[in-house]
Structure formats: C-alpha cells, structure tokens
C-alpha cells in the first residue's frame, strides 16, 4: 500500500510526540530526500492567458480603429510616393502585435513545438 505524504507526516508527528525526535526527523527527512532526489518534476509551464488577452485586446482595438476609419486610411495609404511607409509600416506593426497574440494563443491552447 502506498504511504501518502499525509500518512508519513502523521507518523512523524506520532514519533515526535512520543519523544522519538530522531525517528521523526528521519521519516520527514526521507520524505524531503525523496523529493529532492526525484528527477526535476516536469515543470508545468504556465499558460500565457494574460499575454494572450493583452495582445488580443491590442490587436482587436487596432483592427477596430482601422476599420472605423476605413475611408481615411485607404485614402491616405494609397497616395503613393513616400507614403509607402504607411502600408508597409502598418503591416509590420500588425505583424508584431497580432503575431504575438497568435503565438500566445497557440501556447494557451497547449499547442507548442516539440522539444
């Protein structure tokens, strides 16, 4: 039968109460030693929910901003000449925030590259 940590702690307490400090610390020590000796527990990577939501909100607001000013944006972005920086810059900007959102979204969904 498997001895749970609770059982172990309780038996350590029992020994300690009975004055058998050494045995008590041995039981507890065994416990901690075993914990330490165990191969590092597979670190449960925390899923980036907060990041996903933050970047998602940024990305959505950028999209909303663009589409509510559709007429102005399409007009200014297609003037040609040096204004090429507008569409190209916008594409870069969106690729950073929306790309970060997409990356965090996939991680939040548990989709990670094979290590």
């Amino acid at each position: 039968m498997a001895i749970t940590t609770f059982d172990k702690n309780m038996s350590a307490v029992a020994f300690a109460e009975a004055g058998e400090y050494d045995t008590a610390s041995q039981i507890l020590g065994e416990n901690t030693k075993k914990q330490a000796g165990k191969s590092p527990a597979p670190a449960v990577k925390r899923k980036p929910y907060l990041k996903t939501v933050t970047f998602g909100a940024m990305s959505i607001s950028a999209y909303v901003l663009l589409f509510t000013n559709e007429k102005l944006v399409t007009e200014v972005f297609t003037m040609g000449g040096w204004r090429w920086v507008y569409p190209v810059g916008a594409a870069f900007f969106f690729s950073f925030i929306h790309g970060a959102f997409a990356s965090n979204l996939l991680s939040a969904l548990g989709l990670e590259a094979k290590k």
Partner: protein, 446 residues
Amino acid sequence: MKKLLIILMFALAPLSLFANSALAAGDGPSKDMLKGIITEVNAAERTIVFQKDDTKELIILAMGEKMQPDDMKMNQKVLINLDKHAAGDNVMKDISIMFIDMSVSKLLALLVIGAVGGLLSGFIGSGGAFVMTPAMMSLGVPGAVAVASNMCHKFPKAMVGAYKRWKYGQADIKLGLVMAVTAVIGVQIGIKIQKYILNQFGGAGSNLYISAVFMVVLVFVGGYVFYDAWKLAKGGGKETVSKLAVAMQKINLPPMMHFKTAKVTISAWITIPVGLLTGMLAATIAVGGFVGVPGMIYVIGASAVVASATELIIAFVMGAWGSVQWGLSGLIDIRLALLLLATSLIGVQLGALGTTYVKDYIIKVVMATTMLIVAVSRGVKIPGYLIDLDLMSPIGEGTIALLEGISFWSLVLALGSAALIIIVAMVKGMTADRRSKSVLAGVNHG
C-alpha cells in the same frame, strides 16, 4: 529576434540597387494604368474629366467602345487602364473601383483564405499566393490591387514564420539571404523574358507561356518530389542527401560557402543558378518557392525542413521589397492585407510548429500534392489560350465554363488537401509525442 531583424534589414540594403527596375510579382503597375477620381462625366460626348491621384492634374479621357456612362462612378478612387491599341490617345479600356465594399461574406472569405494560406506557408515555406490573388479578384478587387495587397500580407507572414522556424533551429539565415539576393536578380531576368514574349506574341501568347512554364515546372518538379517522398515513406522515412547534391558539394570552385544550419558546404556557383531560377519563376508564375525549396533540397543538399524554413526568409526579403514598390504606386489596399494577416499569422505559426512533429518526408508530400493539383488548375486553361492564338479550333462555351470551373475548384482542392494532410500529420505527431512522454513519466514514477 533583434539580431534576426538586423540581419534581415542589412539584406534589404543591397536590394535598393534594383530600386529603379521593377520587381517580381512586385513588378509594379504598368504605365498605362491611371489612379484617381472622376470629377465630371459627359454622357453625350462619351468623355470624362479625370483627376490624377499623384499630380492632381485634370485630364479628359474618352470611353472605350464597350463602356457605358453609367459605369463611370464619380467621387471615389478608381483605376483606369488605357487602351494602347485604340485609335486616339487617352481612350479607356476598362475602369474598376479601387476599394471594394467590405461585406461580411467577403470578410469571412478573406479570413478563411488567410488561415489556409498561412498554414501552408508555415509548413512548406510557400503557398497561398497562387490562390490569394485570383480569390481577391473574384471578390471584385482590381488585379493590380490584389497583387499589391497580397504582397503586403506576404512579407509579415513570412517574417513571423521565418522567426518561428529560426527559433526551432530550422531556418538557415545565410542561405536564405544568399538565395534572396540572387533571386532578386533572377526576377529581373524573368521580367525581361516576360516583356519580350508579351511584345512578340501579345496577351494570349504571354498567358500561354506562363501556363506552359507553370505546367512543366509543377508536373516535373512536383512529380519528382512526390516520387522521392513515396520512396522515403516506404523506406521508413530516413532522408538522405540526393546524389546530385552530393556531387555538387564535391565541386570545389571558390568562393566556397558554409551554411551552418543546413549543414552544407557548397560553391557559390551552385547556389547562384538555384537562386536565379527561383527568382525567374517568381516573376513568371508568382510562386518561386515551388522551385526554390526543391532546388535547396535536391541541388544544394539541405533537408526538407531546413529548405522550407529558409524559403520563408527568401519570401520575406522579396515580399518586403515588392511591397515597397507597390506602396510607391499607392496600390495596396491595407484592409485586404490586414484581414488576410488576421488569420494567416495564426496559420503560419501553427504550420511552423507542425513541422517539429512530422517526419521530413511529410513536408515533401504536402508540397508535391499542392504542386500537382495546382498544375491541373493551370493546365485546363491552356485550350482557351490556344484558341485565342488560333492554334486550336474553338470549343463550345459550355466546355470553357466547365474548364474554368475545374480550374477554380482544383485550386480549392489543392489548398484543402494540403491543409488536411498537415493537420492529420500534426495531430498524429502530437498524439505520439504525448504518449511517449507519458510512458516516460510512467517509467520515472515506477
């Protein structure tokens, strides 16, 4: 990330040498195209007053034979193609409204195409372009705007995909940059050839040439990749360097270049023709990756994973430069580019991480399948061009409509089947990975 960006920015610098010549599918619009607003329509004289967008200059244009005064939409940006073969100057051939009204169905269509195109790009390094532009045009976007907007969505997508695959240790930046620079030169050559054919044989001749190149390249290269993938699948999936690549690597012609990620040392004289051909093909059929990736695999000797990842770097450099060209002429509809990006940035990262779960040959299977089905979509268009050139007797309209249908649906099939193979392979890979991890965990606990 910073390091990657700096390197890529430096790569863009030499490209400015080509600033004056047109580029790639980033060729820029033709000289016979005008952009601006119609300020006045004279129905009786069949003329319009047109204000050019760039110089604000007012000019009078005559309507072409088939045009109706009702088609002349005032006070919104339009694109006008002039008829070079018309009797007088300034005769319009066609007119199109520059910005389509964005309906919900169009929006959804763009999001779906973006997702599938992105998935394919992340996985095989290229893909999507051959369907994005026609798809946008069928939504009513003028051809030049469709090409420009696709270009502007392609480079950020390729950048994000390249970054992810570089992080997975798959992308060879040096190889990508060497290929990109030579590909840009290849594009110039490709455009020269295109122009020559257009002048000699006209529009139908040019279309026939493009379709023929498309067919030959896709059938031969796609067929070979498929054969190779099939052989690998049967042999347990262990990839070996092709005999051709081994022979090429033995050629000791300085300057020799070493590519760390690709694990290849090869003479620059071998990479140059591969890059040139990639560029030439990009200028001809708009999908350079269909020869770039197989070229890197079979001629240079990179693995399919590295070749497809490296292609994304080439796509980024060429796409960014093309976008600047189209941006200079002010033809990018940023709404289209960003809607495609909304889903393609998710797709491209999913495709990229998918490559870490599958065997190398699956990439070849997806690539070959796409190429062969796309070949069909182009092939069925050839009879139409042959008829235009009087090389074939006319066929019924029903047959032409049927061929058009086959052409369109085979593109849909190409994308759909590629996406399906990717997703199935990825899910299988992930399940196997989880199972082996849990077995391992079981061993640890036991």
